[in-house]
């Protein structure tokens, strides 16, 4: 039952991604991408990952749409024509990377496999020691903000730099 | 209590279905907006009421009610904003062919 729902949602994801990629009007592409975010959030919720679902809904469907619309407001809605050879190179690169990823997926442990390496020593280590080491009740928060605080700090730096660069490029001259 | 929950769920599903039917079948943007913003808000209220009755009085029930309050404010606001934007950019409302509106 839930697998059927999941399969249906995945087909929808593919269809929405095609709409977003093929739309000549970039505004339609941005809106289709927002709907894609909502559908992906439902997939995460169906897989039992509510926090990922929440992040996807807020960032993927909410904030990204707003950012794209703000960018379109200051640039153009029309897609610029990329010359054909360049598009073929891009298509080839995307297909090659996709193929590599597909092959690599077969090496991954099954979803929810208790015998997989992350389930046998990584997760128990954090779940058992997080509270005494960091005094934080939420293990995910502790990993992101405590064990990997430098990683998170530099991620924030990257996002800040990206935002600054976008603002410098798109700000209207007075 | 079980009967009440099932009745509320059925009422909510009915209004959600009406909203979806309107979005699917009505002839133009304004009529679809009209259908979805009203019927979906009502369906949402019934479904949330069913959840509140089912989980009983608690802090979680208050939060579910708060979701209702926020959606109750947000849906009409965004519907109004889109409708006004459509009107101002010159989207013409649908008229019956040949007849008076």
């Amino acid at each position: 039952m839930s697998e059927l729902v999941l399969a249906g949602l995945l087909v929808l994801l593919g269809a929405l991604a095609l709409v977003a990629v093929s739309a000549a009007d970039l505004l339609i592409a941005a809106i289709a991408l927002g709907a894609y975010g909502f559908a992906l959030a439902l997939v995460w919720a169906a897989l039992g990952a509510p926090d990922v679902s929440f992040t996807e809904a807020v960032v993927g469907a909410g904030a990204t749409t707003v950012f794209f619309l703000a960018a379109l407001l200051r640039t153009s809605r029309r897609r610029s024509n990329v010359p054909n050879p360049q598009r073929l190179v891009a298509l080839g690169a995307v297909l090659a990377v996709g193929l590599v990823l597909l092959v690599a997926t077969r090496q991954l442990p099954l979803w929810g496999d208790v015998g997989a390496p992350p389930s046998t020593h990584v997760s128990p280590r954090y779940l058992e020691r997080t509270l005494e080491e960091t005094l934080t009740p939420n293990a995910v928060t502790a990993v992101v903000a405590d064990y990997r605080s430098y990683d998170t700090l530099i991620e924030t730096l990257v996002i800040f730099t990206g935002g600054l660069a976008g603002w410098l490029l798109l700000a209207r001259p007075r | 209590m079980t009967v009440l929950v099932v009745l509320l769920l059925a009422a909510g599903l009915f209004f959600h279905a009406v909203a979806a039917l309107g979005v699917l079948r009505l002839p133009d943007f304004y009529t679809r907006l009209h259908a979805v913003s009203k019927a979906e808000t009502l369906g949402m209220l019934f479904t949330l009421a069913a959840i509140i009755v089912w989980i009983g009085p608690s802090l979680t029930a208050v939060k579910v009610a708060l979701v209702g309050v926020f959606v109750f404010m947000a849906t009409p606001t965004s519907a109004h904003a889109i409708g006004r934007a459509a009107l101002r950019t010159g989207l013409k409302p649908w008229r019956r062919r040949g007849g008076s509106p």
Binding site: V5, G8, G34, L42 | E40, A86
Partner: protein, 90 residues
């Protein structure tokens, strides 16, 4: 019939209704129809999140997500409306 079955039935039915809104997003015909589809999708997703919380018996976790989501889900529609008010082309 257990009452969980009723909740499950409503959840699956709402997922079916999501298809209708996704159809509007994909087909249009005007860009406003697509925005309307996304905003209706946001409301429906808020409710489906709560129903999934009831089904998984973790409503106290899902309600927080749904609450924050209800606050944020309509900013996309407002931003799109503002875009049209500022540029005037559709």
């Amino acid at each position: 019939m257990r009452i969980e079955d009723a909740f499950l039935g409503v959840t699956v039915a709402l997922l079916g209704l999501v298809l209708v809104y996704l159809f509007r997003v994909a087909v249009g015909p005007t860009v406003f129809d697509r925005i309307l589809g996304v905003s209706a999708l946001g409301t429906t997703t808020t409710i489906i999140l709560l129903l999934v919380g009831v089904l998984y018996d973790r409503i106290e976790l899902f309600v927080d997500l749904s609450l924050a989501y209800a606050l944020l889900s309509f900013v996309g529609a407002l931003a799109a409306a503002r875009y049209f008010e500022q540029t005037g082309d559709r």
